[in-house]
Symmetry: C2
Amino acid sequence: MQTIKTRISRIFDIDYPVIQGGMIWCSGWELASSVSNSGGLGLIGSGSMTPEILKIHIQKAKKATNKPFGVNIPLIYSRSAENLKVILDEKVKIVFTSAGNPDKWTKRLKDEGIKVVHVIANSSFAVKAEKAGADAIVAEGFEAGGHNGREETTTFSLIPAIKQAVSIPVIAAGGIGTGRGILAALALGAEGVQLGSVFAASKESSAHINFKKEIIRAGEGDTRLTLKKLIPVRLLKNNFYTEINAAIQEGRSTKEILEILGSGRARKGMFEGNVDEGELEIGQISSLINKIRPVDEIMKELIFDFYEAGNELKRTLHDLKTNK
Amino acid sequence: MQTIKTRISRIFDIDYPVIQGGMIWCSGWELASSVSNSGGLGLIGSGSMTPEILKIHIQKAKKATNKPFGVNIPLIYSRSAENLKVILDEKVKIVFTSAGNPDKWTKRLKDEGIKVVHVIANSSFAVKAEKAGADAIVAEGFEAGGHNGREETTTFSLIPAIKQAVSIPVIAAGGIGTGRGILAALALGAEGVQLGSVFAASKESSAHINFKKEIIRAGEGDTRLTLKKLIPVRLLKNNFYTEINAAIQEGRSTKEILEILGSGRARKGMFEGNVDEGELEIGQISSLINKIRPVDEIMKELIFDFYEAGNELKRTLHDLKTNK
């Protein structure tokens, strides 16, 4: 079997340094265990789960795979402390923390023997995560779906900056959805990749079929980073986006915008399938996704294309070496 | 000598498929000829030149290099027709057109035996350029400095999309400023790269020293895409940017914003060195530039780093092949 060996694949003991991002309403036990069974690292996205639901998902994932899997936990949510307790009780071995300060829990998790990765979007938080003891970081570019950094730094500009800032391995995220993308991320100096959109649209994703169809339909320019003053998030353009965007353009107050946002909009769109009124978090690379496919097929194609692109690049590099 | 052979280096008969973007107020004959003399392709940026000035720059470039060089001509400017005449009179062999419809002049230029490249930011214009007969296209991502696409597609998401859309070679632009960046662009399927910011800050750039110092000083998040409704442009944050941005946030009319913009702001900032009141067009990768250096040194480092990163990647790819 062909594997891709980097520090990331070694840390997690996986065949390919391909991580499925932990996404609200999309990545339950079924998606996470499928990705792990295909040689990558699946993550349960706990951001949209109550502690009771999270417990069930972890237990089901354990039954569905013998391979390593993890849980993503966004630090901003009020119930994240309760979810952390579930993670510790269930002896999950890999935790990705995001949307918050890596000082919060890294040491505590490391003391339990857990591998910890923190998601960042700038060098200063990368350094913070390294100091806090994280095993690796996910560096997420502007093109990524969902919550995003305020600096708007894209993957192409971000990875070299993060590589300069830290020595722990870097996982590139944002704009990656093909084998060529994985190769390019490694070329930039990343040692792994985190893919969200591609897996959100997979058969095993728990996203509503209507949302998956919208991902398939999306073309260039169909996502936008919005709510930049509140908490930047990349969304698929729909009625909900248009309404929010109009309020921002009109210079409405934060209070008014929060009222328009209401609550439960992400659930409504991504899980219940109301694609007009709900919030649809997805990355730019959705424009290249044109079919709902099983995870196994997606992973095989990613690795095959990575290998093909790698051989093509090797030929260019070979020419370079012999053209002296 | 080590060269990098792709269709782009063959089309232009250059050692490295590294193109110096034609930039207003930065890329005169001195910068363009230096890049060409170092094995890349230098472009005179005619956007900020009168026909008389452009003629002088072309003539000086001819004296300064025996290597191929070209001229970039933004199609939106009123004097572009006059500048085109100068280009034809002076028998320039390579023309990059940007900011407009490739149907406008591609055929006419091709009929004169000129190599034509068109700059685009989405697939539909890439297809248009190919149909019009362009030899190649520059695909420019959201992270690039200066004028930019409305879709906000980043280099990582854009290159694979453009590769799917056309079969003429693709030159990646936006976020590239290191040898690793060049390697990543080739990994994504590009056959060349266009670099702007790195050369804008070079010794041979005609930018004012104050502007060069601001490029060196710039950190992550210090540039922003603005004027999205008028004509999107990526600027370094300064007083001018803050003023424009405040007007946009307040929901002011296009007329009012145009009044604040005034005229000659780019000249004021980039050429005259008034870095507070002038417009400073630069890319995100400016955060990685930390020294004003001669072009020859920049090119040598780019190629050296490309080669180093290529060897590192080859080792990962080698492992992949033998780990069966």
